[in-house]
């Protein structure tokens, strides 16, 4: 990252300006900003445009952890700006490319600082030397005062602010006032009533003809000092502005409009990251043996900057967890959005996941069981909202074994909003039934224990035959369980669009593997994918990083766009329609039916 990019930090608001559930309208270098704080206090700075139809996000609503555009209700989440709800297609997850244009933002000196050249989440560096301000000294505190708009360029505003002392009743006659100045800041220091006081003025170039003057007072922390300062500073700035207008240096009213001055945000460096680089640290606040071979893990974000990262998701979501064995694994969230973990010492909102120890584990579940204890730190992704409730009158949940996890969260949502639901939980025996207390909170729960495959099928047929016709069916369990339900639904004439499912694993046969070629459209490079190697392996061997996660065609992480050729899909992530269309494929498992595939890479 070049120094120039990292140094372009500007103050854009006082920390107090970003009120709870409010979207603050800002402007920097003619780029309009939507600045908002989530319910956990994390600050977001986005381009003020919905990426759908360009409506201003500042017309929309801050609902706690999302901003909802006023125009068509698209909802963007705090942190990475990902769009997670499209109301017109609420049951399908929006593509990951639908995302707010985010900027790096940080709170320092009681101000909000933004860097237009860097995306959210980029580590911030402290303000550079010519801002003149630093962290407050020991026993001292900094408070932002009111920011003022001057309709003039930054140089004129700077010359004006240098005259500030003359417009404050007490400073104007004080010979002890020392003034320092830089091209974008002014610093006053003096002694008053035995206290060393400092005022920092920082200039924000909003538009070429409009400059914002931020002011930060630094005073001893024990002096309840701020008292008269909001009014005193406002009075001085009003007098100063009035004088500058009288002198013809500053305009009384805007010289341009944001519409006329509008420029799109500058391009940001596109870094293609592997999944693991976007993970956040989470603390394991509690580990519970919830059933035979099943442990639940309560997680909460560890770093203050990520503190709200697990608070908001759509029931049915999963997170990726980097297991101690070094494998990235998907685990569904059992808890409801916004739950404060029972084991949390800090009252932070987190998630509960459950992990079943698999006898033929490739290392993921065994290492979670063997090595993760309370207090451990694990790396996890933000929630991924792939599996979700459709807009239907009711929900019939069919779970087998550990597949109950996402369905519990979804059923909790149905119960909390008073909608019709029933949960059928198939398990090997009473000792294998997890989350009894969560099951008790639901209304219509049926346990089916120790049934043979034939008895399971008969039970499924009977449930579907008598289900409420308003309900959609949600399934999570192993493949044969899903197949039995899909078959039974078909036999009863229930449309395939009424059966929603999530699989935790995929069985792939390599018997018919054939070698094929891929051409990468952007570089023209051609590669051979031999038998015994996956497309994603071949790509990463040649330095083309494709993010992978489950490596069995379940999670959708490694999706690549197909421009020409016919993929042979082996995943369980894409829908049948998407597979037929053939515009994308999962690079970890899927291969090619044609000799050549042209990929958008």
């Amino acid at each position: 990252m070049s120094e120039a990019l990292n140094s372009a930090w500007f103050p854009v608001a006082g920390a107090h300006d970003l009120a709870e559930r409010h979207i603050f309208a800002g402007e920097l270098h003619n780029v309009e900003l939507a600045l908002w704080r989530d319910d956990d206090g994390c600050v977001n700075a986005w381009d003020n445009r919905c990426c759908h139809r360009g409506a201003r996000l500042t017309l929309g609503a801050n609902t706690g952890h999302r901003v909802r555009c006023q125009y068509h209700g698209w909802q963007y989440r705090s942190g990475d700006g990902q769009c997670i709800v499209l109301p017109a297609a609420s049951q399908t997850p929006p593509p990951t490319s639908v995302c707010a244009h985010t900027f790096a933002a940080v709170e320092r000196n009681d101000l909000v600082w933004v860097n237009l050249n860097l995306p959210a989440g980029h580590p911030a560096c402290p303000p550079q030397g010519d801002w003149l301000i630093a962290e407050p000294g020991a026993g001292r505190t900094q408070r932002a005062l009111q920011s003022f708009v001057l309709h003039a360029g930054a140089a004129t505003a700077l010359a004006g602010v240098q005259r500030y002392a003359a417009f404050d009743a007490r400073l104007s006659g004080d010979p002890s006032v020392a003034l320092r100045s830089s091209p974008r800041a002014v610093h006053l220091s003096w002694n008053e009533d035995g206290q060393a006081l400092q005022l920092f003025f920082l200039l924000q170039p909003a538009r070429t003809d409009k400059t914002l003057v931020h002011a930060v007072l630094e005073a001893p922390a024990d002096a309840v000092a701020l008292g008269p300062w909001p009014a005193r500073h406002q009075a001085a700035m009003k007098r100063l502005r009035h004088r500058l207008i009288d002198e013809g240096r500053v305009s009384d009213v805007p010289l341009s409009t944001a519409d006329d001055a509008y420029v799109p945000p500058p391009p940001q460096p596109k870094v293609r990251q592997r999944g693991s680089e976007r993970l956040l640290k989470a603390r394991v606040t509690r580990v519970t043996e919830v059933a035979q071979d099943i442990r639940s893990f309560e997680l909460e974000p560890e770093d203050q900057g990520d503190i709200g990262a697990l608070a908001d998701f759509i029931p049915g979501a999963h997170i990726d967890v980097l297991t101690p064995a070094g494998l990235l694994r998907q685990y569904s969230i059992v808890s409801a959005p916004g739950e404060i973990n029972a084991g949390s010492a800090r009252g932070v909102r987190g998630v509960t996941i459950a992990v079943k120890r698999e006898p033929d584990s490739r290392g993921g579940s065994a290492s979670m069981h063997g090595q993760i204890r309370e207090g451990a730190i694990v790396e996890v992704s933000r929630p991924k909202n792939h599996f979700r409730l459709a807009n239907s009158g009711g929900a019939l949940f069919l779970a087998a074994g550990i597949g109950v996890t996402p369905l519990l969260s979804m059923a909790g949502q149905m119960a909390a909003t008073g909608r019709l639901h029933a949960l059928h939980y198939f398990s090997r025996g009473a000792a294998h039934v997890a989350f009894r207390e969560r099951l008790d909170a639901l209304q219509d729960v049926h346990l089916h224990l120790g049934l043979s495959p034939e008895a399971t099928l008969a039970q499924i047929q009977s449930i579907l035959a008598t289900m409420d016709p308003q309900m959609d069916i949600y399934v999570c369990g192993p493949r044969p369980f899903l197949d039995a339900i899909v078959g039974a639904a078909q036999a009863l004439g229930l449309g395939a669009d009424r059966v929603h499912f999530e699989l935790f694993s995929n069985t792939i046969s390599h018997q018919n593997d054939k070698p094929f070629k891929v051409r990468l459209a952007r570089s023209g490079v051609e590669l051979n994918v031999p038998v015994g190697q996956s497309l994603s392996d071949v790509l990463s061997e040649h330095g083309i990083a494709v993010e992978t996660s489950c490596e069995q065609g379940v999670c959708g992480t490694c999706m690549v766009t197909v421009l020409e050729g016919t993929p042979e899909h082996r995943d369980v992530y894409l829908s049948e329609d998407e597979k037929r269309a053939g515009h994308c494929m999962q690079a970890c498992v899927s291969r090619s039916a044609s000799e050549m595939l042209v990929l958008d890479l």
Partner: protein
């Protein structure tokens, strides 16, 4: 029964509808075609208000004009002793009347710019916009200090909204329709969110609701605590 002679797109009619909704007072709307029919200048309506303006309120035969005056009447008639119009507190009564008068200044500027923009009335829109900008700056600076008071956040002291907040609200929110951006007035924008969260708040064309406050909806998706 109350009859409101009403025009859907009028901010001054809207503030009366808003207050009637907040107080949960049933009323009947009598729609008046302000534009393009200029029905408010018809003989029938001039008989009710010789100034030829809307809204007009008829409460069981008692006929009133002027939105601000109507708000004060409704407050004292239907919510006496409430925070909406603090007649027993001389200072707060004075403050409320001062900001009610300010609402008329907003009508003369912000609303005028909008009338020119929406209906091409023959008005000096640039002059109206400059005037509105200066008024909004006064409001913003007042509200910035008010936010820092323990019982602040509203136009008048006392920690609760008054009819002055409702009176000033519509032509702040509708200002962008007259070509006046609120970008330079952060404290004013925060105050509009507070007004939108008053119980009973209702919308009009161009004025959208706010999300519920955290007190009203601690989590936005119906979370249950285990």
């Amino acid at each position: 029964m109350i009859t409101l002679y009403d025009y859907e797109l009028s901010g001054n009619c809207y503030k009366v509808r808003l207050f009637l909704e907040i107080l949960k007072i049933p009323y009947v709307k009598h729609p008046v075609e302000f534009y393009p029919g200029f029905e408010h200048k018809s003989d029938a309506l001039l008989a009710l208000n010789p100034l030829g303006q809307l809204p007009i309120l008829d409460d069981a035969g008692f006929v009133m004009r002027d939105a601000q005056a109507i708000l004060s009447y409704l407050a004292q008639r239907y919510a006496p002793g409430s925070h909406w119009y603090p007649v027993l507190d001389a200072r707060r009564l004075g403050e409320t009347n001062m900001w009610l008068a300010f609402a008329n200044e907003l009508t003369a500027t912000s609303s005028a710019a909008r009338l020119q923009q929406l209906f091409e009335f023959e008005l000096d829109a640039d002059k109206a916009r400059r005037g509105a900008y200066r008024l909004f700056r006064i409001l913003d600076e007042h509200l910035w200090l008010s936010e820092r008071q323990p019982d602040g956040g509203w136009l008048c002291t006392g920690g609760q909204p008054t009819i002055a907040d409702l009176a000033c609200f519509p032509y702040v929110m509708l200002a962008p329709e007259g070509g006046i951006s609120l970008l330079d007035f952060p404290a004013l924008r925060r105050w509009t969110d507070r007004v939108k969260r008053i119980a009973g708040f209702t919308v009009m064309a161009g004025i959208f609701p706010a999300s519920p406050s955290r007190q009203q909806a601690p989590t936005e998706h119906g979370a249950i605590t285990m």
